[in-house]
């Protein structure tokens, strides 16, 4: 058995983090770990500069017009909750897809159970893609929002957001994308694509730590605040600050998380997002080709990997996914994610709802040897 952990669970969280990210977090917090923007002393102002610098960097990264509308949150789920709570009103209709993570499905279900909204979930095709025309056909007079995952966390398929954005823009309906699996892997341009808001998390392909994420919002999207409190400005007023970004942020920010996220983006920009994607997809293709030679392994929507990010889901005939994961871990030192991946409807549709599947998600620090080792491990389970 290889002594080194072969980590193929980067779709859950990227690991390890680049040393540069960890160093900058530690050093930044040693030197500047004060409350950003909450004091008149120099360090507080410098810390605020760090936060604003991160907003500017993220705005460029996502093609967002206004850095002050980069809202920090704990993660993508948190950011999506800010969007749902700030946009949905009784009587609204929402369109989403059956590819969604529970970060979308559960808030929608909650609001429907409250009697506030109705929603339709659009099916994906046999290759894992949603048809923008199907979204158009589901639009109703009271459709308030379309929310789509940019890349499926089970199948890796990247959705045609640009076309969906066109559909939404022509009808004046905000499009929100969940970029949990795409941010840091493929370029995102919310302005060019007519995306009204991008929910992102910092700890996956953006290479930052857990606990930081956010929502990039276009100026024409009016999101009401859904949490209230101290913002460091307008303190005399009993009304929560109306100006962005404070409008949607309450309480002291996760400064060390923001430092890490900012360093992660620098790392990606330095390495080149296209280069990262190309390398990861080469690893994924190697894995797919290797597994394709194993009769006892079944893969899902992996026939054509164009339009995918580096996520591949499979099962071993006669071995439950959780046992396959245990064998990969215990006998081969390979970390993967098994189960339903918090996306039950995808598993319903690919026929794996009972026990789920094994998900491989290589990252920037994996090598072809890691992939070959994973293929040999899967071969051993015949």
């Amino acid at each position: 058995m290889s002594g080194r952990l072969i980590y193929l669970d980067n779709a859950a969280t990227s690991f390890p983090k680049p040393r540069e990210v960890l160093d900058r977090m530690l050093q930044g917090y040693i030197e500047l770990g004060v409350s950003p923007g909450r004091g008149s002393y120099d360090q507080a102002l410098e810390a605020e500069d760090v936060v604003h610098g991160a907003r500017k960097k993220l705005a460029i990264f996502f093609g967002a017009p206004d850095a002050d509308r980069i809202i920090f949150a704990a993660n993508a789920t948190d950011a999506l909750n800010i969007a749902f709570n700030g946009l949905l009103r009784p009587g609204d209709h929402v369109i989403s897809t059956r590819l969604e993570h529970n970060s979308v499905l559960r808030p929608l279900y909650h609001f429907r159970e409250m009697g506030w909204i109705s929603y339709d979930l659009v099916h994906f095709d046999g290759k894992g893609f949603v048809d923008p025309g199907e979204i158009a056909r589901n639009i109703k007079p009271n459709t308030r929002m379309v929310i789509v995952t940019h890349a499926s966390n089970v199948l890796g398929s990247v959705q045609p957001v640009e076309e969906i954005g066109r559909v939404c823009s022509e009808r004046g309906i905000p499009l929100i994308i969940d970029a949990s699996q795409s941010a840091g892997k493929i370029p995102i341009d919310m302005t060019a694509w007519n995306v009204s808001a991008v929910a992102f998390t910092g700890h996956k392909a953006l290479l930052g730590p857990t606990g930081i994420g956010g929502l990039a919002v276009r100026p024409d999207l009016d999101i009401k605040p859904s949490r209230f409190g101290g913002t460091g400005v307008d303190s005399r007023s009993p009304i929560h600050t109306v100006t962005f970004p404070h409008r949607l942020e309450a309480g002291t920010l996760n400064l060390i998380g923001i430092m890490g996220l900012s360093a992660g983006i620098d790392y990606i920009m330095h390495k080149g997002i296209e280069s990262i994607h190309r390398e990861e997809m080469a690893l994924l293709k190697r894995l797919r080709d290797g597994l394709a030679g194993l009769e006892h392994v079944e893969m899902y929507c992996a026939g054509d990997l164009s339009g995918h990010v580096a996520v591949l889901t499979a099962n071993v005939n006669g071995v439950s996914p959780e046992d396959a994961g245990a064998i990969l871990d215990g006998d081969f030192n390979i970390a993967v994610r098994v189960g339903l991946h918090c996306a039950p409807l995808v598993h319903e549709d690919i026929g794996t709802i009972n026990r789920g599947a094994v998900r491989f998600s290589p990252g920037i620090f994996n090598t072809p040897e890691d992939i070959d080792h994973a293929i040999r491990a899967m071969a051993s389970m015949s």
């Binding site: 071995v319 439950s320 959780e322 046992d323 245990a326 064998i327 871990d329 215990g330 006998d331 994610r337 098994v338 189960g339 339903l340 991946h341 918090c342 026990r355 789920g356 051993s380 389970m381």
Partner: protein, 120 residues
């Protein structure tokens, strides 16, 4: 509905089922995992093994089952993969082959541990 009836309904909703095994009333969950690990004994394990297609539990089987139980009652959780492997001197693949149903639905279930809480 009384509080007790509500509690019973909740348990039923969670898939709790009563069975008579070796003359004893034992609760299992929807996948056949023991509701209470303390209801386990070797006679019950032998009967459940037979139901799963294992006519005989060999010394290799018992070594696995006893290790899992001892680990569980000492640590309060099922053994981690590497601990199981080291503890019984078998690879996970070998344990998988040893039990119909494999590691989780085979070994863990026959050892009387509760159903693991994982992403299902």
């Amino acid at each position: 509905m009384t509080a007790e009836e509500e509690h019973e309904k909740l348990l039923a909703d969670l898939g709790r089922q009563l069975r008579i095994v070796a003359g004893r009333e034992i609760y299992f969950d929807w996948e056949g995992f023991f509701w209470d690990p303390n209801d386990w004994d070797e006679e019950v394990a032998t009967i459940l093994a037979r139901e799963s297609g294992l006519d005989e539990l060999t010394e290799a089987h018992w070594k696995v089952l006893r290790f899992i139980r001892e680990y569980y009652f000492y640590h309060g959780r099922a053994p981690m993969n590497r601990h199981l492997k080291e503890g019984v001197h078998l690879s996970l693949g070998e344990i998988e082959s040893l039990f119909p149903g494999g590691i989780r639905l085979g070994a863990r279930r026959l050892a009387g541990l509760p159903n693991p809480k994982s992403c299902f």
